[in-house]
């Protein structure tokens, strides 16, 4: 479905709710996806798909809500869905649910945003995309014959329209594309896998990669590193001065701080007190800032919330002090923060939740680091820069954690766990490599331990956030590396039994 058709659908659904004395939010979405996966030189899968549908969230006049959704757009389906949503809202009111009438206070917004993609979804024919991806995959295999390689490419276009009883009608297009190389490397009887990606909004990522082969270089470097990790010893568990790359820093900012300031979590968040954001709390040293907001051209770009409000850029931590949260229209006030348009949903079939877009962890105390083409050259440059500026902590290991494999946080207790691809001791001139082990501890201690940054800002660490069982694109980053002091509440893994 095209943007105009979706807008018309939303308007027609809203028109059918005119007799209802409550409030209705209608979300319609049209999603197209092309994907392909190559493994060891041949196509494993090429798939196309489309999903169109809409959801109706109805509120009784007292603020009890019900939700109904369908991917059937046939005649009669709209009326049935509206009736279902209203009926469920009324049932909900009857069981004494907690009412929420905040949506009546939301400002009316009318906007129709143009598609930010440079190349329209179908502009490059699928057959041509297949050829380009095969070329990239084959080059990679030829360059690293000992690895088992999978290459995948996915491009998605989501057209959204959100309409509300107050006349709000917001429509926008979210294009996304990602190229990924996954390698499995074996050495000394052990296996390690590695994943590198390049993301953007459209098929331009393939053209760019064919031009500069930046992802290929990264994948090859990571494969060499993974091979070294296969034979690497395990690090004794302990508390060390750390240098984390921007992927891990994004993980820390996203999992540890972003989720802890989402307005629906405040009752169980370590950054909340009596259900309110602990505004003014010093959580880091002066000069540390955490910012969340959409960036044009980014993997997680979304200009409006799924409730039809403008998405704002929020400084969560300013100069080490907790300043603001990610406020959704339904819970921001109760959580003691302004509404920032933070509601996002996986699809028309999901209820929006407050969540991040692109989150960045930045520091004022910055050491220069010129980006280099190869990983180990960059690691050497990190060591040299630290020595030059007297930042290498003498007499102990200074461990550089490379690669973000994901993580998890309990926002209630503040416990976090992250995993990396491997570890390098930059205090040792031979740069010994160690097996990955968990980077864990308490989130407030981790933030307090940040003492500086190395290199320019890199904000393209992408992922998929799974909050509430909904998969939504997320991204973010930091300076190329962050420096952290050793802290008794932040540790690296342990030895095997």
């Amino acid at each position: 479905m095209e943007q105009k058709a979706i807008i018309a659908l939303v308007q027609s659904v809203l028109a059918e709710t005119r007799g209802f004395d409550g409030y209705v939010i209608v979300r319609a979405q049209s999603r197209r996806e092309w994907g392909m996966r190559l493994s060891n030189g041949h196509f494993e899968r090429v798939s196309t798909g489309a999903d169109n549908g809409f959801g109706v969230q109805a509120f009784t006049k007292n603020g009890a809500s019900g939700f109904a959704t369908s991917d059937v757009l046939a005649e009669g389906a709209c009326q049935k869905l509206i009736e279902k949503a209203i009926q469920l809202a009324q049932r909900n009111e009857a069981i004494g649910t907690k009412s929420n009438s905040r949506i009546w206070e939301a400002p009316q917004v009318v906007a129709e945003e143009a598609n930010p993609a440079q190349k329209a979804f179908g502009e490059i024919p699928l057959a041509e995309l297949e050829k380009m991806v095969m070329t990239l995959h084959s080059r990679l295999r030829d360059a690293f014959l000992e690895g088992v390689w999978q290459t995948s490419y996915r491009q998605v276009e989501e057209i959204w329209c959100i309409g509300r009883t107050d006349g709000t009608n917001v429509s926008f297009v979210i294009p996304r594309a990602v190229l990924m190389h996954q390698g499995t490397v074996r050495d000394k009887g052990k296996a390690q896998s590695t994943l590198s990606h390049r993301s953007g909004v459209d098929a331009s990522v393939l053209f760019e990669e064919l031009e500069d082969h930046a992802l290929e270089r990264k994948a090859l470097d990571r494969a060499e590193f993974a091979r070294a990790v296969c034979g690497a010893p395990q690090l004794p568990s302990g508390h060390y001065p750390l240098i984390i790359d921007y992927g891990l820093a994004k993980g820390l900012a996203h999992e540890a701080f972003g989720h802890a300031v989402e307005s629906d979590h405040m009752k169980e968040s370590v950054l909340g007190e009596a259900g309110k954001l602990r505004k003014g709390l010093r959580v880091a040293r002066p000069g540390v800032n955490i910012i969340d907001g959409p960036l044009p051209g980014d993997w997680a770009y979304q200009p409006y919330s799924a409730n039809g409000l403008l998405r704002q850029t929020v400084t969560i931590v300013r100069d080490g002090v907790l300043e603001a949260g990610l406020g959704d229209v339904f819970s921001a006030e109760e959580a003691g923060m302004p509404v920032t348009g933070a509601g996002r949903a996986e699809s028309y079939g999901h209820i929006p939740l407050p969540r991040m877009s692109n989150i960045r962890l930045l520091v004022d105390r910055l050491l220069p680091l010129a980006p280099l083409d190869h990983l180990m050259d960059e690691v050497k440059a990190v060591r040299e820069t630290l020595i030059q500026h007297g930042e290498l902590i003498e007499g102990e290991k200074n461990l550089l954690l490379l690669g973000y494999r994901g993580g998890q946080v309990n926002p209630k207790t503040g416990d976090f766990v992250f995993q990396c691809d491997g570890i390098i001791d930059v205090a040792d001139p031979t740069l010994p490599i160690y097996e990955p082990s968990i980077f864990s501890g308490k989130i407030l201690s981790a933030l307090e331990a940040i003492r500086g940054g190395l290199g320019e800002g890199c904000f393209d660490a992408i992922g998929t956030c799974g909050k509430g069982g909904q998969s939504v694109a997320s991204s973010g980053g930091s300076h190329r590396y962050l420096l952290m002091d050793a802290d008794q509440q932040v540790s690296l893994g342990g030895e095997h039994a």
Binding site: F67, D71, Q419, G493
Partner: protein, 439 residues
């Protein structure tokens, strides 16, 4: 006109009387789901709040797999459009053709085989959709009435019912009804319990789950002595499932084995290499009535069969979709539905109550942080498990925070590893000796 009927008509015509010769099919397969679902949640002790309202979902969508006359393949997701005009589907067909690719091993649609019947539909769930869904509201009300007064409760109930249609050009035409019921709850986001089957839960199951969760929650309020280096680690059934899902199941996926991306090479399967202790067996069983992992035919139209992955500790077979089975030179196998349908068996399993009595110094791990970040191929883990429960002299005595380091393959091969049966779960408690430290 139903989606499955529209697709059948389209693909039959493209096979026998195509509008354009380049759009001629030699074979095809259709999978369509028609479903309705209702759900209701609890957030922070509030039923049906704005983030977890009572919800209804209706859907009719599926996928097609096509083999063109020149042997190329295509696959696509499909859904019922706003209109069912032939022009729309012809455009789709042309796009699917454009997306075709060479994959000779996949270009194979088997002839229909006899289907073993298994019950996958609970009529009581169907009644929820034809009635008012009161059962969901009653359950939520009961939870909130019975919960510990100080606990902050989260929870959800979901139920679904619908049709599954599978059609192939070789003559398979299967349509059956299936249902699903899932519920979970937690106290303070620390201790929880869940149920998921193709039937409603029985009162005794609800009571058992509630009582167990309540006991664990009470124990969690007491601080227990820390673990020592020789403390036995016991994985709760849900943890056993999580560990199997992270480290074992991916390594039994046929495509990963064939591509050299799994922990075990193909030769190890052919030689029936010993990889677990001989007391352990692992199987996929889609023929257990009303279990979540049960089905009549796979998405590819292969009738359900029991498939043994590991027998007495020895590798038998990976699970094989049609394409992988062609490459492997065997018949397609059963396919797990997530972790549902997978069963781990131990020859000397004893009931959990009995096993607990014999634990002098142990820690019961209910959940860990960061399991999904661990390397599936190596089997190594380094995990933190805050809010575990200490066991001393056969009694759960309180809460402790631990860190685990080890290798799950080593755990499954160790003679010291034991399993204990849970009457509320399909996976056992796993009692292992591994690296454990205070967090």
């Amino acid at each position: 006109m139903k989606l499955v009927a529209q697709l059948e008509e389209l693909l039959y015509q493209a096979q026998h009387t195509p509008k354009k010769e380049e759009l001629r099919l030699s074979d095809w397969r259709i999978l369509v789901h028609e479903s309705e679902a209702v759900s209701l949640g609890i957030k922070d002790n509030t039923p049906g709040g704005v983030y977890t309202p009572p919800s209804y979902r209706q859907g009719e969508s599926g996928e097609v797999f096509l083999v063109w006359a020149d042997g190329k393949c295509s696959q696509a997701m499909v859904q019922l459009g706003s209109d069912d005009d032939a022009g729309h589907w012809q455009q789709e067909l042309a796009q699917w053709r454009q997306a075709s690719y060479e994959d000779p091993d996949a270009a194979h649609i088997p002839s229909p085989a006899p289907v073993t019947l298994v019950t996958v539909e609970d009529r009581a769930i169907h009644a929820i959709f034809s009635g008012d869904g009161q059962i969901l509201f009653d359950q939520v009300k009961r939870w909130l009435t019975d919960k510990p007064s100080k606990a902050k409760m989260q929870g959800s109930i979901q139920t679904a019912w619908g049709y599954r249609h599978v059609r192939t050009s070789t003559g398979l035409a299967v349509t059956y009804q299936q249902s699903q019921f899932a519920s979970w709850f937690s106290f303070d986001s620390l201790i929880g319990g869940g149920f998921a089957k193709r039937r409603l839960s029985r009162p005794e199951e609800q009571e058992g789950l509630w009582a167990r969760t309540l006991n664990l929650y009470e124990a969690m309020q007491i601080v227990a002595p820390p673990v020592g280096p020789h403390t036995q680690v016991i994985l709760a059934p849900s943890m056993t499932a999580d560990m199997l899902g992270q480290f074992i199941l991916p390594n039994f996926s046929g495509d990963r084995v064939l591509e050299g991306q799994g922990a075990f090479p193909k030769e190890s399967f052919l030689k029936n290499k010993l990889v677990f202790h001989p007391h352990f067996s692992l199987l996929i069983d889609p023929l257990r009535p009303l279990e979540l992992g049960s089905y009549l035919v796979t998405a590819e139209g292969v009738p359900a069969v029991r498939t043994v992955l590991v027998h007495d500790g020895r590798l038998q077979s990976p699970y094989l979709r049609i394409k992988d089975s062609v490459r492997w030179g065997a018949k397609p196998t059963a396919i797990p539905q997530g972790m549902a349908g997978l069963y781990l068996k131990h020859k000397e399993e004893i009931p959990w109550g009995e096993a607990l009595q014999g634990v002098e110094d142990g820690v019961l791990v209910l959940a860990v942080l960061g399991l999904h970040t661990q390397e599936a191929v190596s089997g190594s883990y380094s995990l933190s498990a805050p809010h575990s429960l200490r066991i001393l002299k056969g009694q759960i005595v309180g809460k402790t925070d631990v860190k685990l380091t080890g290798n799950f393959f080593t755990d499954l091969v160790a003679p010291t590893t034991k399993a204990a049966l849970s009457d509320l779960d399909t996976f056992p408690y796993l009692m292992i000796t591994t690296g454990v430290q205070t967090l």
